[in-house]
């Protein structure tokens, strides 16, 4: 955990209700992909946990959806504004656990951390395919970015306006994806539906309402096979075998 004040370079919509924010950062602020940041938002008492989409030298990129007052206040910030954030939170995905072909599955704004994960996997020479699920074609995020990294991307939309009509589970069966290791991030119902379909080594990034994001308040606890665990501190990424679903 590190506290930083970063300058906003860009904060603009990428899909209805979704924004991409890039921040200047001298060095990479993550130890592993799948970690998150807690940002102080004007007018709100608690910080808000936000996924990191890319962490490079010189720049940190966040992808977020406006769901309440906190994220609405975040969306109102302008380039040049300063943002107070806690960085390098949580455990992140273990990209080195993939020895063969990787499958990434993301739903909605949950696709955010898959971009850095894909980059890390490709840098290690892994073949990557991705299944991304959204409600409609207008909400699609990160497809081009993942394709540009060399990932084979399948999109599923609930209304059939793009790709396969239906859920990511439908796309998983239809696409007959070929993979050794799966990484999942999205809404809880999506992850629970995927759970029985994926191998034991699969990694799931969970979400829950958080208080502190740093392990101090025990607000975001989930039951695991190893006992109660704090999603912010012991997760957000858990192996399938840790989840008693």
């Amino acid at each position: 955990m590190e506290k930083r004040i970063c300058t906003i370079e860009r904060n603009s919509p990428v899909a209805p209700g979704c924004l991409r924010m890039s921040l200047t950062a001298e060095e990479s602020l993550l130890h592993r992909c799948g970690q998150f940041v807690e940002v102080a938002v004007p007018g709100q008492y608690l910080r808000r946990p936000i996924s990191v989409s890319l962490s490079e030298e010189g720049r940190l990129t966040l992808l977020y959806k406006v769901v309440g007052k906190g994220t609405a206040a975040l969306a109102a910030l302008k380039p040049g504004d300063k943002l107070d954030l806690l960085t390098g939170l949580g455990n992140g995905f273990d990209s080195s656990a993939c020895r063969g072909k990787a499958l990434l599955v993301g739903g909605g704004i949950g696709v955010a951390p898959l971009l850095q994960l894909c980059r890390d996997l490709r840098a290690a020479g892994r073949e990557v395919s991705a299944i991304l699920g959204f409600n409609t074609a207008a909400e699609i995020l990160l497809r081009e970015e993942l394709e540009a990294l060399g990932a084979r991307v399948t999109v599923a939309t609930m209304d059939g306006s793009a790709g396969i009509r239906g859920l990511v589970t439908d796309a998983l069966q239809e696409a007959g994806a070929d993979y050794d290791q799966a990484y999942v991030c999205g809404p809880m119902p999506m992850m629970r539906a995927l759970y029985p379909l994926l191998p034991d080594a699969s990694e799931f990034s969970l979400e829950e309402r958080m208080g502190c994001g740093t392990g101090l308040c025990f607000g975001c606890t989930v039951q695991t096979t190893e006992g109660p665990r704090r999603i912010c501190h012991d997760g957000p990424v858990f192996k399938k075998t840790q989840l008693p679903w």
Binding site: K3, A40, Y45, L46, M210, G211, C212, T214, L216, G219
Partner: protein, 303 residues
């Protein structure tokens, strides 16, 4: 400008009066790599019960103007893990005094936990929490009735020779009646206040925000309530007070001490900024200089 920020609390010298409050500082060692735990005056450990507890279902947290609601519900690994594992591990990481925070669902449970805490060399102070608003039967029920608070204090007093503090609830008509009942049964000090019982509703879903429906309200918004309670109890009792409730700055800490606190717990501020405690400690000498204070101990209860 050398300022004396040490205080003596129930016979124990604290290098400064800043104590992270129970339930807002993890198990105690999460921040060990971020700042030296020895900088803290003391550490109040996570509320502990006889048996391990998962706590309440999620969501457990709700944002509010000037603070938050929590309904964690005493998630903890149990007293045996505290005395056998957590407290010794913390003791190996720092030498700052450790405060065990004990909760229970019966007078006997409080007693057994206090006996176990008493037998643990790593624990310096026992704080008995009769004010948790987030558990059903037990918890706050013991802290809203003078006779029940007295009974728990009597049992805890029998269980330990270590400095015994009782942590009080503000959700009462007359906090001084509860405070005096604890003092009469031999408590060495009082911690106040715990959270205020609150509730939020999600007006789109038309449901409570918290899975537990209600939760404890804390943060800067409760600070005036805490100051009032500490001052009332300071006038009514002779035992030392650890002031708690919405403290976010060195100025707040000084106000709390002027109200009657010997030491001060910082709670919600840690959740917003995990470096809040060291920041308050660092800011103290300059604020004391502005206010003409040489020794913090001199301002306790001057108002």
């Amino acid at each position: 400008m050398v300022k004396d920020i040490s205080v003596t609390l129930a016979g124990i010298c604290l290098k400064n009066p800043v104590i992270p409050a129970s339930g807002t500082f993890g198990l105690g060692y999460e921040m060990a790599e971020v700042f030296a735990l020895d900088r803290l005056g003391a550490i109040a450990l996570k509320g502990t019960t006889l048996e391990p507890r998962f706590g309440n279902p999620t969501p457990r947290i709700a944002e509010c103007t000037g603070g938050l609601l929590n309904a964690v519900g005493l998630q903890n690994p149990g007293i045996d893990a505290l005395v056998g594992d957590v407290a010794p591990k913390l003791r190996s990481l720092c030498s700052t005094p450790l405060i065990a925070n004990i909760s229970g669902f019966s007078v006997d449970e409080f007693g057994i936990c206090c006996e176990k805490a008493d037998a643990c060399a790593a624990i310096d102070i026992v704080e008995v929490n009769v004010s948790c608003p987030n558990v059903h039967k037990g918890g706050m029920a013991f802290g809203t009735d003078p006779a029940a608070a007295a009974e728990v204090t009597r049992r805890a007093r029998k269980a330990t020779r270590k400095p015994l503090f009782i942590k009080l609830s503000p959700n009462v008509t007359d906090i001084t009646a509860i405070a005096r009942a604890c003092e009469d049964e031999g408590a060495d000090g009082l911690t106040l206040i715990n959270t205020l019982l609150g509730m939020r509703i999600d007006i789109r879903r038309r449901k409570p925000v918290l899975a537990n429906r209600t939760g404890g309200f804390s943060g800067p918004a409760v600070f005036p309530v805490a100051i009032r309670c500490v001052n009332q109890v300071a006038k009514a009792c002779r035992i030392p007070i650890i002031g708690c409730g919405g403290v976010s700055s060195a100025e707040d800490l000084i106000e709390m001490m002027m109200a009657g606190a010997t030491a001060v717990q910082v709670g919600s501020a840690n959740l917003r900024d995990p470096l809040a405690c060291p920041a308050i400690i660092d800011a103290l000498p300059a604020v004391m200089e502005q206010l003409g204070i040489e020794k913090l101990q001199d301002i306790i209860g001057i108002v």
